[in-house]
Symmetry: C2
């Protein structure tokens, strides 16, 4: 077996091929920085020839000053019938000014003839010429042999010929791709053994998850000698996704003893998984192996008492190793340690013996029972703790609000909100319209508060999520609203839960403003009182 593997992340390229995954250039830069912090060796940033967004990423990525990761570009071999020097695709790769590149070429004869519609010999030349050209430009060249396993099964000699062409042209690594994701773990080792008998440079593996076997196939390949592993964070990718690095890393490092990351870095795994889910706007699956919220959750009875005494009775690894945590779903004990742990993280000094801690615990449990989930709403959680400690961050109070949604015949719906607030005894009232009840309420609330505290105009809602907690009861069910707010630099999340969507949204909106005012209390200037304009005056707002 190999002594260590090089991780090659393609979340930013193959991952974005997944249906519903869309990342802005800014998201991609943030993820690149996170991957670098985690200690991934290569970060594939995109395909410079395919769209201007990817080229823009490479431009911006130069300014990231990454610790150790190498940003790589992706591209295809030259087109049939042109020289490598004149191929626009390869030119774009040079323009991206990366040090390393992954070039994919066909290794399945069927694909060459049917999809590419060129001759088998020309395809071999395309591989050779493209690798040689990029090597001459001084780049590290990784050759991705597309459909290698299918190609091998249909025409073994040709598939191997594609690899040796890349090797002879100077490639640094030969990556065997299971592009259609249909291979079985039991097939991998035999095929890699043959490859290793025919080639001398390092090999890599790139799997897809169409058979729910991408992680297993990757582990089998490493066991058979592959030194380079391609995959994506959380397994994002086309169809059923790519091999999931978040599962591959701990399997390799903690179980097979093959280092991928520094020991202290692997504890960032859970945070990395959740961070990427959030940026990609995906709900983190509770049951995600290793990093999911349920991955180390134990239900009542025998399991719990056994786990509390000897965690290894029902845990395959220690959750802390990868930055996850044990959750004992019914235990009275887990709550307090969680609370102390979180408070420390938030920088709030909390003394276990302070009677307030017991009250906060009690409040927290009541709220969680109602459906509040503070993992995803740290700003609301911090307010809960600080209120429990006697701090007061009620900068404003509701006098009343009214939302009116109206529709006439086939006409467009109108939704308007009127909000009257009590700000230190002074009443102020405005109205606004929006494209939904909550949108209108949000606008009106911030307009109203803004009359006294202009600081509120520096923040805005950046995300709004509704989850129905008990869907079985139809429109009468409990809803949980999560709001993310931002001031362009920082973001913070707040929560509201209620049987009424408007009430739940209101709670989260109010928390988001209170939190911002609390954090920026030094800049919280209050303007002079404005009179409440009754009647027509409302039109001015």
């Amino acid at each position: 077996m190999v002594s260590q593997v090089k991780l090659y992340d393609t979340t930013l390229r193959d991952g974005t091929q997944g249906e519903g995954i869309s990342l802005s250039v800014d998201d991609k830069l943030k993820i690149a920085r996170k991957l670098d912090q985690l200690g991934v060796k290569y970060i594939e940033g995109g395909w410079p020839g395919s769209n201007p967004k990817d080229m823009n990423f490479f431009e911006e990525a130069k300014k990231l000053s990454l610790e150790s990761a190498v940003v790589t570009a992706f591209g295809s071999t030259r087109k049939p019938g042109v020289t490598a020097e004149n191929d626009p695709n390869l030119q774009k790769i040079l323009e991206s000014e990366v040090e390393a590149v992954a070039i994919f070429g066909k290794s399945w004869d069927f694909h060459v003839e049917k999809a590419l519609q060129t001759s088998l010999d020309e395809n071999i030349s395309m591989i050779y010429d493209s690798v040689r050209f990029l090597k001459e430009k001084g780049m590290e060249v990784i050759f991705d042999a597309e459909h290698f396993f299918d190609g091998y099964k249909h025409n073994r000699d040709y598939a191997l010929k594609a690899l040796t062409a890349a090797e002879e042209a100077g490639a640094d690594c030969l990556v065997l791709c299971d592009t259609n994701g249909g291979s079985l773990p039991s097939e991998i080792a035999g095929i890699l053994d043959v490859v290793h008998a025919c080639t001398t440079i390092p090999t890599g593996i790139h799997c897809h998850n169409d058979g729910e076997l991408a992680v297993a196939n990757t582990l089998e390949a490493v066991k058979a000698g592959a030194e380079h592993v391609q995959g994506t964070i959380n397994g994002y990718g086309e169809r059923c996704g790519n091999a999931n690095l978040i599962s591959i890393i701990p399997n390799l490092q903690l179980k097979m003893g093959i280092p991928c990351l520094n020991d202290e870095k692997i504890s960032q795994l859970t945070e990395t998984a959740v961070y990427v889910h959030e940026l990609a706007n995906q709900t983190p699956p509770d049951s995600q192996p290793f990093t999911g919220k349920s991955a180390f959750a134990h239900k009542g009875g025998m399991h719990v008492s056994a786990v509390l005494k000897h965690p290894e009775t029902y845990e395959h690894i220690e959750p802390e190793t990868i930055g996850n945590e044990r959750r004992v779903l019914v235990s009275e004990l887990s709550g307090q340690s969680n609370l102390m742990f979180k408070a420390e993280e938030l920088g709030i000094p909390l003394d276990k013996t302070d009677p307030a801690v017991k009250d906060i615990m009690e409040k927290m449990k009541q709220m969680e029972h109602k459906g509040y989930q503070y993992e995803a709403a740290e700003a609301s959680f911090e307010l809960l703790i600080r209120n429990g400690l006697g701090e007061n961050h009620d900068y404003f109070h509701l006098d009343h609000f009214k939302i009116i949604a109206e529709k006439e015949k086939e006409g467009a719906i109108s939704t308007e909100a009127l909000v009257k607030m009590d700000i230190n005894g002074e009443k102020v009232m405005t109205a606004a319209e929006g494209n939904g009840p909550v949108n209108a309420l949000d606008f009106a609330l911030r307009k109203t508060i803004g009359e006294f505290y202009p600081l509120v105009h520096e923040m805005y809602l950046s995300d709004y999520k509704v989850r129905v907690l008990d869907e079985a009861e139809a429109t009468a069910s409990t809803v949980r609203v999560l709001i993310e707010s931002s001031d362009g630099k920082e973001t913070w999340s707040t929560i509201g839960v209620s049987g009424n969507l408007v009430e739940a949204s209101w709670q989260a909106l109010v928390d988001s403003i209170r939190f911002y005012f609390m954090k920026h209390s030094d800049r919280l200037q209050k303007l002079d009182a404005q009179p409440v304009h009754p009647g027509p005056g409302l039109q001015n707002h």
Copy 2:
């Protein structure tokens, strides 16, 4: 390798241990019927000793008259220090009156001493006695060796002794459980070889997905001779879930050539997966291997043209084999065949050459572009087609509605709706309150229509789902509302999409009533006109 495997489904027992998975007795009966139709050999219904709901299931399951599946019960070996005859747990199994039972016993010495806190010898007696007792009662007994792989690695002799005790007591099958889900595919075959050298009866495999390897580990076990496979539909289960039968079945049958189901049954796989997701109230993951909506979805460019000519270029199996379908995300061609296919399913005669088909196609594309997704809303889809064919199912029209949500200080929020409808030229108006804007609107709408068409009182909303389509734009994003309605016998789903939550909900509400009226037009009696009560009259409603 074995010539076929027996599938043992534990969705109804181990599956419900998954966080967030909760099934009523009625849900469980429906799933049991579906599993029987699919051709699963064993259906584990629950643990009769653990709760009254499970016992109730066994009572009701007797009336199901299943085609071929055997309903089984789950239970533990007798407690330390009591005879099998006097063990309440085993008594409950007898009371469930099933023909087959899976009894789990400890095979990891560490667990016996630390969790069970009894002697190693007593545990072996517990296994022997419990299996013998149940065999004497004439039952088929499957022995689940809990933590077998961990036990084997820590104390191989003891783990094997647990198996031989069960065999000697007359067990029909020895199931090796990877209870903590931490085993690697490369470990499985070697361990099974040793087991097969020490035992003579059939073996089985039960895996968990903590390492994202449950499917691979199961396949490896079958390759090494396991004849019995335990798992759950969609991989539901505690922590990261159980081995996913939905992926195991096609891998075994289509790739490894080991029959699990009749050939015509495997095409029900996608329908079964989605059906169970719906009953368990889980959003089917688009990227689920084999049966997900994205599993055979191809994006533009080279992929699409290659796939249309030669699907095997980017598909590991034919999607139709398992009842899924290819989706060509940008193709103009895929739409029409989908439409003809769906219309046929719904029993609507549609002629490809009818010019209306082109118009319906056009409309459908426009709607899908806006975010309508008809897969999950067949009633709205049927209305779209029938409208396109010139049928008129507009039994009522909106004159106007108004929703008012009001909150004063810390008081509860009130949400009220007023609806005025035009029913064949007659105006009628009522109002209602609800615990949210949509809930109030729903009540008011049905009260209003009910003044003319009492049929509307036979139906009710049974499910309401909101999904934010573009979460990045916060409260200003597009929302998709899915409504499921029921009359206690049939259910049907409708959809609405809008930038405004109220508008989207309104569309889905209106469709749901129109659909019901269309289907029951023979019973649609219209009462005499009622005058519209202005002002105070509203209080009567």
